[in-house]
Subunit: 249 residues, 2 copies
DNA sequence: GCGCGACTTTGATCAGGATCAAACCGGGTA
DNA sequence: TACCCGGTTTGATCCTGATCAAAGTCGCGC
């Protein structure tokens, strides 16, 4: 059993938070940050642990600080669809509702910064910065979700895999604050099954298509979980998207 | 060529607008409404006409007043995916961005209430009501989009058709301000092709599955475009969703 | 080292939808 | 009336990805 990951001390204050420029608190004035500081607390989850089940009462909203979580739905017969990946700075929860619409599960070891819901909502009504930033983030997420609908509804298995890899490559580059480039390598944080659930495929098909991309020289694998992209252009060619643009998040 | 539909005079003032309680202006105070009144104008489109192409510069944001529009994406090779249906009171556009992320096309004769973008954005910063309402609407749309991802990624053709019919039935009932019930009948506002684009299917499969549902007694058809639902429960059984809940929008 | 369990790969077969093709229907117009 | 045209239905066949099954890989604890 792995030890629970703890955040290092120096990230425990808002003014030193690694996501302070991207998260819902990005626009806050010092006094607003001070208020957030009062109502926040951290929670840690290890890979695989559930954070929230759909329908649960939520007493907090939160921001992902480090790690990855998934947002997903499951039908009675067990078919599941992942509907979003939550990366650092992404927001969890909905001011104004108290039950969660989807399951949230830690995919990799996860730290979230929780805000007690009632005070957070109060703060939203008394200051414009949080609401404005949340609106901005929500509109971006809505665009991302809609772009993903094209992947789910119209792309082939190979295109789906390539699209997922391209997105992870872009996000990984963004987290490291440089642009994606040829020869880049990154961690594949998802199991084959999680990829399948995100892409609306089976895990066997995911495995086969990854093998096929490898055979075509589009990607190289280093172990099961590390990917090298020799030519970003070739990868994007496989996604079915036109060269520039394409889903960002 | 059909005559362009014009709104009747009595809906041309905000205080008499049919969607004033649901749209982005729902929370506005009288003085805010007065400002909106200054910056708004109506536009009409007939079925089939484009409203905006993806990438276009947008000089307005808008609310659907009457009719239906679709939000969609098309790949270079022609594959298209509808990513949303816009019904009366739904919002078009994104404060803070000036190019449209998706195509908007009138599916049925359409009237929208446009707000010049710059003044609208200014109004958003000076009053909380519009931003708060827009956030609320955007969060709902995000949930809807994510629910639709389950349909696209994991449901069978039959389940997809049943899900679409169930959604249209619910929305139709909501527009008429009563709850959906057994024996209800409603208009099918979409062509088979539009349904296919919404569901990630081909139009032939849509046609076949509608025939199959008819043969099973789940629905009855009156012409090509009117549907009767003898038992709502039976229809929902076909969606794969559990009885209550299910996608709302 | 060995064995176990979680995850992954690969193979064989099946089936749900796509594709290609043709006929049908209803409404508008010459 | 006959014709045409957009939308729809139905049929025959194909193919992608699902399903069922078995073997391979890696990390970890004993």
């Amino acid at each position: 059993m792995k030890l629970k990951m703890e955040m290092s001390l120096d990230t425990k204050e808002c003014w030193n938070c690694p996501i302070k420029h991207q998260a819902v608190c990005a626009r806050c004035e010092p006094d607003e940050l001070a208020t957030l500081e009062q109502i926040k607390y951290y929670r840690n989850y290890e890979a695989g642990q559930p954070v929230i089940w759909a329908g649960d009462h939520m007493e907090f909203v939160a921001s992902v600080v480090t790690g990855i979580a998934s947002l997903s739905q499951t039908m009675e017969d067990g078919r599941t669809q992942m509907v979003g990946l939550l990366l650092p700075s992404d927001f969890i929860g909905r001011p104004g509702r108290d039950s969660a619409p989807f399951d949230v599960v830690a995919v990799a070891d996860l730290t979230i910064c929780c805000f007690r819901k009632r005070p957070f909502e109060d703060l939203m009504t008394t200051t414009p910065h949080i609401g404005a930033r949340l609106l901005e983030m929500t509109l971006d997420e809505l665009d991302s979700a809609r772009e993903w609908m094209l992947v789910l509804g119209r792309k082939t298995a190979r295109e789906k895999i390539a699209s997922l890899l391209a997105i992870i490559a872009r996000r990984d580059a963004a987290l490291r604050k440089h642009t994606p480039k040829d020869g880049m390598h990154f961690d594949l944080p998802l199991t084959r099954e999680a990829m399948a659930d995100y892409l609306g495929l089976t895990l066997e098909t995911v495995s086969r298509q990854i093998s096929a991309l490898k055979k075509s020289g589009i990607i190289e694998l280093d172990g099961k979980r590390k990917v090298v992209v020799p030519s970003l252009e070739k990868l994007i060619n496989e996604t079915g998207d036109d060269m520039d643009g394409g889903p960002i998040a």
